[in-house]
């Protein structure tokens, strides 16, 4: 019973924090970083919760949303973090995490130089 009360209390307190959590960012970020309340900018797809739990405790999700890698590239990044950055063994979650990352943050075929993108044309006085 006591445990249940604590659990209710925590859910109440945490729901207050949820209001804060989704407060809009007041600064500029790169395009492609999805603004939402729960995924911290990550694309909502199978595996996103595992990514949040395992990755966001050390670094911003912006390290993910900025980058584009193949499955091999993401795997090598995970190995590098395990070897040098104190990332733990992901166990059986690793396969799903790799699928999530490589499907949602994959490199796209681009040329050597892309067209210039102008967000807002303005009249130069």
């Amino acid at each position: 019973m006591r445990g249940l009360l604590i659990s209710w209390f925590l859910q109440f307190v945490l729901s207050l924090f949820l209001l804060n959590c989704g407060s809009s960012k007041k600064y500029n970020t790169k395009k492609g970083h999805v603004k939402d309340n729960t995924m911290l900018g990550l694309i909502d797809d199978e595996g996103v919760q595992l990514v949040l739990q395992n990755c966001n405790s050390c670094h911003s999700t912006q390290f993910i949303t900025q980058n584009r890698m193949t499955k091999a590239g993401w795997k090598s990044t995970i190995r590098w973090m395990q070897a040098t950055q104190n990332l733990w063994d992901l166990g059986e979650d690793e396969a799903l995490i790799l699928t999530y990352l490589s499907e949602n943050y994959a490199p796209s075929a681009t040329g050597r130089r892309q067209s210039l993108v102008v967000e807002d044309w303005y009249t130069l006085e």
Partner: protein
């Protein structure tokens, strides 16, 4: 207070974890792995009420990453001849230190090749050694990484990880000469107060350095002022190295200790793939073993059009004044050219001399467009050895360093 949102998909319900001053709590049976090593009291930028106000950054600066903090400028923000603090990029590898006790702060100088291991308070540094002021270019080694294809891992800098403020401090050389160096000294390493992202106290976020020959140059400073003011916290308070013309990662912030090494320094982000490029050029996408990577030293020739901002519409006029800066690592820029026809023809700009060695130089020109239409203005600098900036991404490398492809802006004459 920053709130971290985590969901447990197995339990089919969301549980929100609050990061407290004591670290992440364990709630309702969901344990946060390594919660005990979360940095205490750490408040990521995302949780600040107004991050730009707290960091005194211009509101048009772009946040690439809020943990670790990485913020870049846009080209048009860098038009000042001396970069103001609010428009200077931020590149952190770890967590910004807090509560630095300036009264008890000391810089320790040790290492295998130090003759007299010494320490100096800030006051002792200021009163013992002569101060010098130089305008010095700091550019992140990964500036321009966003253009790499295949993509390179890391913060996706576009063009804004460069700045040229005025730095005041003491010459590293004077301090090293006071301490004394053994004949076998080869490298000067820094150790800083910023904490590793994992919160592991035994790990350094970054600990790089420079060869003794660079450490002994007149312009290599231990700086305590930026643009005549105390170093802002985010830029290394109370003391940082400033190593002009080299990857800015050599310019360690929040200094606590310098080590005079008898080997090439082996600290965090000196080895592996960090701040290193293939010793021999490779085809895009090549996996390069660590032992075939070489440390980046001087940065390549580069330029930036800072006026006008890209996207200018010229109405009832066909003339346009352009302005910007050019720099070339250890070298001087000998010429800057512009093109309005995608590099088919190049025209010389006016170019100023640097105010001191390793400062950027300013160029300007007046363009006359022949007729209405869409144009791109490209600029291209040449260093004193006759080496030009390439028009496209040069030498692909695994971590996306040293992109000095010429800068472009879009203009329409309507």
């Amino acid at each position: 207070m920053y709130i971290c949102c985590v969901s447990d998909s197995v339990m089919k319900r969301r549980i929100f974890l609050k990061q407290t001053g004591l670290g992440l709590a364990s709630l309702s049976g969901l344990d946060v792995v390594f919660a005990s090593s979360m940095p205490k009291g750490y408040i990521p930028l995302i949780g600040l009420q107004d991050p730009f106000k707290e960091l005194n950054k211009h509101k048009q600066m772009i946040v690439l990453n809020d943990r670790p903090l990485n913020i870049e400028a846009q080209a048009h923000l860098l038009n000042d001849e001396v970069t103001p603090a609010d428009k200077m990029f931020v590149r952190n590898n770890g967590i910004t230190p807090e509560n630095i006790d300036l009264n008890n702060w000391k810089l320790v100088i040790d290492g295998e090749s130090a003759i007299n291991v010494s320490s100096f308070t800030l006051e002792e540094l200021k009163t013992t050694f002569k101060s010098y002021t130089y305008q010095l270019v700091l550019e992140c080694g990964g500036n321009g990484r966003s253009e790499f294809n295949p993509p390179a891992k890391g913060n996706q800098w576009t063009i804004g990880a460069v700045s040229c403020p005025r730095w005041t401090g003491v010459r590293l050389r004077d301090v090293l000469e006071r301490v004394g160096m053994k004949e076998d000294a080869v490298y000067l390493a820094y150790h800083s107060r910023d904490q590793h992202l994992s919160g592991d106290r035994k790990k350094e976020a970054i600990s790089r350095g420079i060869p003794i020959s660079k450490a002994m140059m007149d312009e290599t400073l231990l700086a305590y002022h930026m643009n005549e003011e105390d170093l802002p916290l985010i830029h290394g308070q109370p003391l940082r190295l400033v190593v002009g013309g080299w990857p800015a990662s050599a310019s360690g912030k929040w200094l606590e200790r310098l080590s005079i090494r008898n080997i090439v320094h082996d600290g965090a982000k000196m080895g592996g793939q960090a701040y290193r490029v293939p010793c021999e050029t490779v085809a895009p996408g090549t996996v390069v073993p660590d032992e075939d990577m070489c440390i980046i030293e001087s940065m390549p020739v580069k330029s930036l059009l800072t006026y006008p901002k890209s996207g200018a519409l010229l109405k009832n006029q066909k003339n346009l004044e352009i302005k910007g800066h050019a720099w070339a690592g250890e070298l001087v820029v000998s010429a800057v050219y512009y093109s309005i026809d995608f590099g088919a023809k190049w025209h010389l700009c006016q170019l100023s001399a640097p105010v001191n060695r390793l400062a950027w130089q300013h160029f300007k020109s007046e363009i006359q467009f022949p007729k209405k239409g869409y144009y791109e203005v490209w600029v291209r600098a040449r260093d004193q050895n006759g080496v030009d900036q390439p028009m496209v991404l040069p030498g692909w490398n695994p971590k996306g360093y040293l992109n000095n492809a010429c800068h472009r802006i879009a203009v329409k004459v309507v």
